[in-house]
Each structure stands twice: as C-alpha cells, then as structure tokens.
Amino acid sequence: MADAGLPTVEEAMALGLTRGEYELVCEKLDRPPNQVELAMFSLLWSEHCAYKHSKKLLMTLPTEGEFVVMGPGENAGAVDVGDGLVCAFKVESHNHPSAVEPFQGAATGVGGILRDIFAIGARPIAVLDSLRFGDPGTSERSRFLLDGAVSGIGHYGNSIGVPTVGGEVYFEEPYEQNCLVNAMALGLGEREKLVRSAAAGIGNILVLYGASTGRDGIGGASVLASAELGELSEDKRPTVQVGDPFEESKLLECSLELLEAGLIVALQDLGAAGLTSSASEMASKGEVGIDIDVAKVPLREADMEPFEIMVSESQERMLCVVEPGKLDTVIALTDKWEVHGTAIGTVTDTGQMRIFRGEELVGEMPVVALVDDCPLYDLDPAPPAAPIYPPPTATLDPAADLRQALLALIASPNIASRRPLFEQYDSIVQSRTVRRPEESDAAVLQLPGGRGLAVSIDGNGRKVAADPYRGTIGVVLECASNLACAGAQPLGTTNNLNFGNPEKPHIAWQLTEAVRGLGEACRALEAPIVGGNVSLYNEGASGPIYPTPVIGMVGRLPDVTRAGRLGFAREGDAIALVGRFSPALPASELARLRGEALPDGLPDVDIAAVRATQEAVRDAVREGALSSAHDIAEGGLLVAIAESCLAGDVGATLDLGACEDAWSALFGEAPGGFVVSGDPSAIARLAEHTDVDVIGAVGGDRLHVRAGDGEANATLAELREAHRALARLFP
C-alpha cells in the first residue's frame, strides 16, 4: 500500500476521533491509517455506530423474556405473536438531519427504519413517529420543521405503502434548536424465515443491490449525528441524504422475494456509515473477513475516491451474502425488480476487512479492531447544581377559572387534536388497521386468525427533565397503559434515548438515571428491550434538549374484534376513574401553561400497583365489558374525559364530590389513572379487581363537572373548536 500523504492526527480529529482514539487506531494497525482506513475507523468509532458513551449503560437493560425471538444487536428486535409469526420492530432517530433539512431528514428516517425491518425478513406493516419541536405559536422555525417533517414522513410512508398508524408530537422550548424526529416501524414475518446479518461461508459472494452510490451523506454518522448542532447547520446540508421511496419499495419486494426463495445467506441494510458499517458488522457477527472491490460498486459519479465509496450514505441499498451457485438467480431477481445487484466482494477467512480498487489494495484492517475495539467510556454523572432549563413561557392568565383552564389545555399544541398531522398519512393501506388514530390509545392491527397487535409510542421530556428516573418510569408505564386500553398485553419494548452531550456530567446523570428507570419499569412489566437506538449530542446554542427517552411498545390481543376504544359510546353509561391515582400539578401541562419552573423530582411510583390496574383494565376490555377506556395523561383527568367526549361525540356530567383541591384533581398528572365508561354492572365488576371510583355518566351535548366548590362547564362545540388548534398551522 502506498503510504504517501497519510492523514495527520489533526485530520483524524476533524473527522471526530479524539487524539487518544487515533493513537489506538495506529496501535491496532501497527502503523498510521491511510485515508480509506481513517474514514472507516472515524465512522465505526463514532458515537452513532459504536455507542461508546452509552453501551455500558445499555448492557444493564433487560433483553430476555418469554416472547423475545430476536434481541438487540440485529437490525431489529422481534417478538413472538403466535402461530409461527413474529413482529419485528425498532425505533430510530433522525434528529440532526431533520434539524438541517426536515423533509428529507424525516423521510430518510422512515426509509432507514423500514430497511431495518425487512433486513431481518419481515414485511413492514406499520410506521409510527415521535416528534419534538419548539413552540409553533411563536417560532416560525418550529412551524417550518414540523411542516417539513410531517410531509417527509408522509411522503415516504405513503409512497411505499406502509401505513403510518400512530405517533406523538410535543412542543417545548428546549427543542427549538434541536428538533427530534424518531421513527418506529413494525414488521410481520414467519419465525422460521427470519434472517440474520452474520456473513458466513468462506468464498460466498457479497451482492450490493438497490440505488447506485453517490456522494450524499458522507460523514453523516460522525459529523452530523455525533456532534452538537452549531448555529450554521446549513453548512452540514451535504451530509443529509435524499430518499427515494419508489426505489425502496422495489428493494423491499426484491429482498422479501430473495428470502422467500431461500436464495441468500445473510442480509443487511446500508444505513449510517454505508458500506463500511454494513460489511464490517456482517463480518464481525460472522467472525469472518470480507474483501470488497470498490471498482465494482455502481456509482452515480464516476470519479469517487475509494473512501467516499466506502462511507457514502446513499439511501435504498442492501447488501447480501450469496452462495456462488445461486449468484445468477439472485442477480436475475434483482433485475426483475429493477434494483440491479452487483457482486462487489467475497467472504474470506482472513478476519480482515480488505478494500481493493481493482487489483490495488487500498485499505486493510482487522474486523475486530473496526467493530469491537472502539474504546467504551465511563460516564461521569453528577446531578446539576442549578436548574438546567429555564421555566417555560407562561401563556395562561393567572386568574383563569377551571373552565378557561380546560379550554386552554384542550387547545394547547401538546394536547390539541393531531388530526391535521395524521390526515397527511395513509393509515389504512395493507388492510390491517382496526383502530385508526384518535380511535384508541394504541393503534391496533389485525393478524391472521382473528388476533391483533397493538402498538404505542410515548415520551415525556418535561417529566424526565424534572426527574430522569421517575419520569422515564412514567413514560414506560404510559406506553403499557395505552396498550391496556386497547386490550393488549406487552410483549416487548424498543427505545430511542434522545439526550444532550454525555460528556457533560449533568447530561450523563440524566442518561444514567433514565436508563435505570427504563430497566426497572421494563423488568417490572415483563416487557424486555428488544432493540433501540441512542441519539446523543442533541444540543443547540441555547442548551440541551429535555432528556427524551422515546419508548415504543408492542402488545397482542387474543380477539381483535374487542379492541378497545377511547370515545364514550352510549348515553347513560357510568364513567369511572380507575386506579390508585395521585394527581399532582408540578411538571404537568397546566404547570407549563402557567409558566412554572420544573420541580426538582417527581413523586414515587408504585410500578406493581400500576401494572395491576393495567391488567384489570386490559381484562375488562378483552371481555368486551367496557364501552371505552382511556389512560389519563397530559392535562389530567378532565382532559382525558374531554377527549373521550370528543372521540364519542357525546357529553358527560361528573361530580367528584368533596375535593380539597379541584385543580389538582382535575388537571394533575400521574401514572396509573384511567377513565373508563360502561354499563354500571360492568364497572362494578371491574371494582373487584382494582380501585374504581364512579364519578359521572355519559350523555348530553356538554361536559359539566363539579369538584368540591369548583365547577366547569363547556359545550361539545366549544371543546371541539379548542381541540382544532393545530389546524391553523396547516392551512
């Protein structure tokens, strides 16, 4: 190999490596890396690929359980849903690309997570998203990002024919500079036909198929995803990729047909760090070596350098391992789907990643050094000495009465109807969607044989900022409560940890505490983590985002015809508050409207008690005993009831009886509370299993509530008008 013009340590540092890491690379290679090798190391040793600040924490999470078929480490996790079928699922972030270019950033986020699903041999059946922006009322930038991200998600999901069935979006000032765009996908596959990504079979051939390789997205994982966003993120626009859902649609059908025909040994998508990471990880998992000839890679631009080809993040590409005897059949199938496959390399027994340009060897690195030898760092956590986040801007008149507060909450961007967003998504293609958005707390999809899947995605950055440990427990419980309202039992969990710069002690503390809460809650709910993603360095000029673990949970229903609904359904039904619910105002949505500073800590949570309530609600829904079930979340009890009124287009009359503090009772928040409605006898039966307090009845065309001396009254029309608040953002 020519060693003229070797990159300097300064160039290595410009690519994101530390001086110490560069020296370690030299040690592993026994010489300084050349340009190709340095490019590959800098990406695989980036935070995004190596999880070097989070891996030690992630290893504390529960990953095994009765239903787990595939855990972390593969392209996606998978759980058993019965009858030989598995549900594959995973959530991933595309935060920094979306902050730079929201439409393509969000679109390629969806494209990437879909490839992860079909890379293990499952057909994608649903997409959900979790979004965070600054205040859309005052920030034009936030409206632009929201509009672009929603259009981008819709563009990709709608065009590829995978329904977007659910999601969540919140608006808080700490996301103003650094928005969050997390996308989750679910797939359905046959357990016996799942494929892993480990390369195997010395002499087998690597086939690259899909889009050709261009200069887009070079250094995306290191430069963009693993550093804070500066003021001038426009400069980073070339590191954002451009998505082509049509190409991916062909890629998807081709991949599934290759697998169905038993033509491939291993499969891996090309995501962050492109060919570098796909090939190295396939080699690492298979404990083999790989030779790649970059001269064989189909290019968009003829004059690309070997390092550019190896690190390009051009979208819509897959890499598979094929036995030589099946190569012609594989190529023919890729031609049928117009995703023309090319043999670009071979599996070897050298344990080395060797990069050739034709005959010329341009890079040679031990696979182990690339994939496994990145140093893992211990965090240096310390709780912040002073509050990190300024109080939110007050928007509610301090003199507001209960009715005014209710209407302000219903109109808050964090609570108002998401219809203007989800109407931009196809939620029904593939004919599985049994509960569309705003029909149930979780999206429900039918499975063969009359069973169902329920899925929910949740996060609550403000509560996690107030108390990373208890706040995260609350998010996991909220997800499971959503499933319970649909009648589903959790099978597994995925998570995306969106945090600031972990090299700062207070961020390290947030991360450590949040992971502790995540592990504890998932263990208690027997909903193990089967996969996920970490997104660090989410900071803008004005500071870090709220720490935002986003949790996705998948559950199953034995009888999908009994999937729960959130809307009140029948005049005269009793309305009950279910669960040992201890509502509190600090860190609530009302506190945000009032401009109150975040509290230092949240009340303790009895996870076991919440789980017991969830099971009681779930069983009642499964029996078909209830007309509606809805968990109490942002805005508290009264907002939950208003949402059930709006979803069912019917009013309600409530009397909470003697009540010390009507504000806390009506608008306070806490995990573990539910609003259900049904025949009084069914409610009485539910009371045999959990705490049940009958507080009113369904009927009329208004919501009327009395709580101690307090009283609030609003017509359905008034509630509906307030609930439409987001519509004006989408004229």
């Binding site: 065009s159 059908e253 109407e423 196809d426 029904i428």
Partner: protein, 224 residues
Amino acid sequence: MKFGVLRFPGSCDEVDAQLAAGRVGEAVLLWHRDRDLQGCDAIIVPGGFSYGDYLRAGAIARFSPMMEEVIAFARDGGLVLGICNGFQVLCEAGLLPGALLQNTNRRFTSRQVRLEVVNSETPFTLACAPGELLSVPAKHGSGRYYAPDDQIDAMEAAGQVVVRYAPGDCFNGSARDIAGVCNQAGNVFGLMPHPEHAVDPLTGSTDGLRIFESMAMAAEGVRG
C-alpha cells in the same frame, strides 16, 4: 367471476384490492411486464405510486406492456376499474376523460368521505340505490378532478359522472365535487376514493363492497 389486479413497481393497494375483490370472486395479481390477462372478467388498476409517480401521477404506468393489454380489453368492452392511482393511469391512457391535479390544499390528505351515487345504472354501481351515500376512505395528493366545463356538462348529461363527494366532504377541490367518472360506453370507471378499503366492518365500513358486487353482477349478466 375472475378479477385481475395490476401490479406495477410502486403499487401500494394492489393486495388490498385483491383481498376486496376476492370477497365476491376470484382475484389474481397481474405483473406489469406480462401481457397475459389470464382470462379475467374484469381488471382493477390499483392505488399507489406506480413507477414512483415522479413525472406525473400515472404517466409512466400507461405505457407498460400489461396496460397495453388492458387498453385493448377496455376497447372490447371489458370491465376496468381504476382506483386512485389507477384512476390517474386510466385518464393518462385516454380511457377516461379529464385529469387529476394536485389537491387544492397541496397536501396528501387521508380522510373517510361520503360518496353520493349519482348514476346507479353503471356496471360498477348496479348494487347501489340512486343517491345512496357510501362511506369510503380517500387518500391522495393529486385527486382534484378537472375537465373543461362544457365537457363536464356533456358528461353529466350522459351519466358519466358516477360518484360525487357528499356536500362538505370534497377536500381536494374537484370540479363539481366529482369523485369518479366512467367512459361513454360505461365499461371503464375510475374514482379517487378507495372502495377496497371499505369491505370489512373491522377495518372501516363495508360500503365499498357494493362496487365489487356490482361488477360481479354485471359480469355475470344479472341486473340488480
């Protein structure tokens, strides 16, 4: 009764259409590069984004080998139903009058709509009552029906406007709220909303089934 559902690269709702048609007869998928209609009694051109729809919705798909066969089949009086992207393809192919433009709200919009059956005498609406309202989902970015005014006058007089959006339900800005039209002979029908997504009470309404039932009745020569 045998339905053939076309499959282009980029089709999305072809399996949904196959499942829906399968409720009233046999239904097979037909690959865009093939030319064999496999003896089908009726053809469905499904929804989706054929060939990515990057040039103009439906503009490329009309040139596929299978579409050439479908055009000949339609000229011979065969029943052809175009749904959403399929409607766009049939307009591009000249089998149906008019064109579909970008929605006036310039957004992809997905919404359950009510369709008023304007002409219940076509082979696609035989099973419906005149003026009946069908609850069916619509989901598209380019569904604004357009034709010159005098042409629409003539189409209305000839019964070619088959379904309209009910008052208040037209979100795409279509001329005279037109949701679906047929050709002069009445054997080719295209509409933007998705009857194939309204065939099961579990996933929505069942009103869309009437379109497929009508086609089966027409093909089997049974007048409703």
